[in-house]
């Protein structure tokens, strides 16, 4: 996708070749293209406009180097600018003295606050802290039960009181934390609209009672243009310290992140990447920039792969990739590693160029089992020199693996595609970054 964008820009900029410099005249077309990309990614239109302006300023007069195309240069400028905007200090939460450290979580209805509270409590527990969850949502039906169940699941106590008011629950909950040596108290609040005065007053009252050390604003990654309005209203009232972007496991490009950052200037601290309570990650501005530009979350994928890969194997694979001699042996090994990484559709979703899985391309676990069986029925020679696998060998392999010749053919084709894909991935990317995680030189 990233390449798609820069090649699109190259088209626009074709006439620029030989001109050597980016000028007002020759970048207008590409900026229009960028505007499209950002708007499609749900970046607020005003923010988009300002962003384009700053890119224009930065781009004007820049020399186009011999080694890259004008399109690549513009994409690089934009990417850097995006990272600059999205980045910024995001301090760790410290230890309050006296304890507990109080965290207040607020946001619109259904954005993922309660789930985040539980995820964050689990995260903190893993860092050796002793969290207490406080159920201060007295509005939503069964909100208290929900937090109670989540707390049980992660074995973290929940302070709750049925029939009481949110402010009183909060105060008593924090008191409870103090008395019971819980060093961090996480307050879950009801979802509310920024235009609902009564509810906004309530959250202000909760804040006054809780005197939180940190206030986190939870935003759904699928949010569109309205993100700026809600972020601003919540920030005006609460002056929150950071934001959490949830539901990033989908195919939303998450332009809201940029809107939010540009509007209230607060850092995004975490992203939610699933419904399960371990699906929480730190926010990475560079990945978000790539995602907004449509690159696919290559880096996340690479890091996930890296976690699984044995260093030595990675080095070997890297060599092979460079020589573009990927064998079926490697293919098998990779399949096994990919399978151990988690739900396949999730992993696939992070690959560039496939932000959403088309219906036909659904990842079928059974198919993988079949592929493994087929490769296992090959001789080592066949695995290392796939080109020797002719018709009669295919028939033998099919019989040996209990599959059909069509299955074997399909695999060979997939393998071929994968080889091509690996080649494009390892080719020097437009912004000069290589496949870091695989140990390639950068």
């Amino acid at each position: 996708m990233f390449e798609e964008l820069s090649s699109k820009l190259d088209l626009v900029l074709k006439k620029l070749r030989g001109e050597g410099k980016l000028t007002e005249e020759n970048i207008t077309g590409s900026l229009r293209e960028i505007r499209r990309v950002l708007l499609n990614a749900d970046v607020n239109y005003k923010v988009t406009g300002e962003f384009i302006e700053s890119v224009r300023e930065r781009a004007l007069g820049r020399e186009v180097l011999q080694s890259i195309t004008p399109g690549q240069l513009i994409v690089k400028i934009i990417h850097d600018e995006l990272i600059g905007l999205l980045g910024g200090v995001s301090a760790e939460v410290g230890y309050a003295d006296p304890p507990p450290t109080v965290i207040l979580v607020a946001g619109l209805q259904g954005s993922g606050k309660t789930t985040f509270c539980a995820k964050y409590a689990r995260w903190m527990k893993q860092q050796g802290r002793h969290p207490l969850l406080i159920a201060a949502d007295v509005q939503r039906p069964a909100a208290i039960d929900q937090l109670e169940k989540l707390g049980k699941e992660i074995e973290i106590p929940v302070y709750l009181e049925r029939g009481a008011g949110a402010v009183s629950i909060t105060s008593k909950g924090i008191e409870h934390a103090r008395k019971n040596a819980r060093d961090i108290a996480i307050v879950d609040t009801a979802g509310r609209l920024h235009v609902d005065q009564e509810m906004m007053d309530e959250v202000a009252a909760i804040r006054d009672a809780a005197k939180p050390h940190e206030i986190l604003f939870v935003v759904d990654a699928m949010t569109g243009q309205d993100a700026v309005n809600t972020a601003r209203a919540f920030n005006d009232l609460l002056n929150f310290d950071g934001a959490v972007l949830t539901k990033m496991d989908g195919d939303a490009r998450g332009g809201a992140a940029l809107s939010l950052r540009a509007t209230v200037g607060k850092p995004i601290k975490f992203i939610g990447i699933g419904e399960k309570l371990d699906a929480l990650e730190r926010f990475h501005p560079d990945r978000m920039a790539s995602r907004i530009l449509g690159m696919g979350d290559v880096v996340t994928l690479v890091e996930k792969v890296q976690e699984q890969f044995d260093e030595k194997k990675a080095v070997k694979l890297e060599e092979k990739l460079r020589k573009s001699r990927l064998t079926l042996e490697d293919f098998l090994e990779q399949l096994q590693q990919i399978r151990s990484m988690g739900p396949l559709d999730q992993v696939m979703g992070m690959l560039p160029g496939m932000p959403k899985l088309p219906q036909g391309a659904a990842v079928d676990e059974k198919a993988l089992v079949r592929i493994e069986a087929i490769i296992r029925s090959m001789t080592p020679k066949e695995r290392n020199h796939p080109q020797i696998i002719n018709g009669s060998r295919r028939r033998r392999i099919a019989a040996g693996s209990g599959t059909t010749v069509q299955d074997v053919n399909r695999l060979m084709k997939q393998f071929d595609q994968m080889q091509k894909m690996m080649k494009t991935l390892t080719r020097k990317g437009p912004k000069g970054r290589r496949f870091r995680g695989l140990g390639l030189p950068s």
Binding site: R36, L39, N40, A41, D42, N44, Y45, K46, V47, L108, Q109, G110, S111, G112, Q139, R140, P141, A142, A143, D145, Q146, E148, K149, L150, E153, L193, H194, V195, D220, M222, T223, G224, Q225, D226, A227, V228, N229, T230, K247, D249, G250, D251, A252, R253, G255, A256, T263, E275, P343, D345, Q346, G349, K356, L357, Q359, A362, V363
Partner: protein
């Protein structure tokens, strides 16, 4: 006679009328002193639509449509321009009102089976509570089935809503097979003379292949007992959703043949403009809108009232 007649639509009027004059006001402001539909004005209209989440393609298309209409009809003053804009936007709806969901409910031999689907946290369960209430008010016997066996306290949440609405509720243990819940609820609905069976499902992202397959299974199981079921599959969409909404609609439609949309949380400042793309591209009618967290905060959709509200007061980043 449809239930709409029994119920009356007084709430529809109240819900969106507060923004009724805004379109005129806003357009007037924009066209002040202008005598032609120039590019600057078109651009501003385009931005207004983009700001409402209509998306760049739809917005450009509507602006283009306006230009064409203006050339055809010769635009004279802002009132006419206002009408042109409304016409251009309205043409994106194949429907003018909420497409007789009540009639659907009345015309099928009972139980009428409605499955409610959507991504996480959009308001499925709440809308089901409201929907159940709507038909209870009209004297129908309603059963809710809790086929969300995943989310923490999904059952407890529905218990509250079923009690509020005076509807029956069928639940199973957390982790139970959602299709089995659907099947049981159908059997139970049929044997106890239920008019309307509403099945709640767990929120799921449309990109999760396995979870979409789980929805298909619910639909398959229902078809086994009643080939015409489910009679309605309602996709719930949060009005604050951006361009991703179109993908959601496409994927859910592909999986379970969605027949209509409920657009929730229109009581905020988000406009839900992505439904313009959804209705024109997929031809899906919007059945209802959600305008609050209360049990009465569900209104039948009206394209006209919606178009008025689209250009309502708070625009993004004034």
């Amino acid at each position: 006679m449809g239930l709409s007649d029994l119920l009356g639509f007084s709430r529809l009027k109240t819900g969106l009328t507060r923004t009724r004059d805004n379109l005129t006001t806003q357009i007037s402001r924009m066209v002040k002193g202008k005598t032609t539909l120039d590019d600057a004005l078109l651009e501003e209209i385009e931005e207004m639509l983009i700001g409402a989440d209509a998306g760049i393609d739809t917005s450009v298309a509507i602006a283009g449509e306006m230009k064409r209409l203006a050339r055809e009809k010769r635009y004279v003053n802002d009132e006419e321009l206002n009408a042109l804009l409304r016409e251009a936007v309205l043409s994106h709806f194949k429907q003018q009102d909420y497409c007789g969901f009540d009639e659907v409910v009345s015309s099928i031999s009972k139980p009428v089976v409605v499955v409610v689907v959507g991504v996480n946290g959009v308001g499925k369960t709440t809308s089901i509570g409201k929907l159940a209430n709507r038909y209870r008010q009209a004297g129908k016997k309603v059963l809710i089935a809790a086929a969300d066996t995943f989310r923490a306290a999904a059952n407890e949440q529905l218990e509250v809503w079923a009690a509020r609405a005076g509807a029956g509720l069928l639940t199973q243990k957390p982790g139970a097979d959602p299709a089995a819940v659907a099947f049981d609820s159908y059997t139970s609905a049929r044997s106890s003379g239920v008019d309307l069976l509403i099945i709640d499902t767990a929120g799921r992202l449309h990109t999760r292949v396995n979870l979409m397959e789980e929805l298909r299974k619910i639909s398959r199981v229902l078809k086994k007992v009643d080939p015409s079921a489910p009679h309605e599959v309602l996709l719930v969409l949060d009005a604050s959703t951006g361009q991703n909404g179109l993908n959601q609609a496409k994927q859910f439609k592909a999986a379970v043949d969605v027949s209509g949309i409920i657009l929730t949380k229109l009581d905020g400042t988000a406009k839900g403009g992505i439904i313009l793309a959804i209705t024109s591209e997929l031809g899906l009618p919007v059945r209802f809108i959600g305008v609050g967290e209360g049990i009465d905060d569900l209104e039948p959709f009206s394209a006209e009232a919606y178009v008025e509200s689209l250009f309502g007061s708070e625009r993004a980043v004034e």
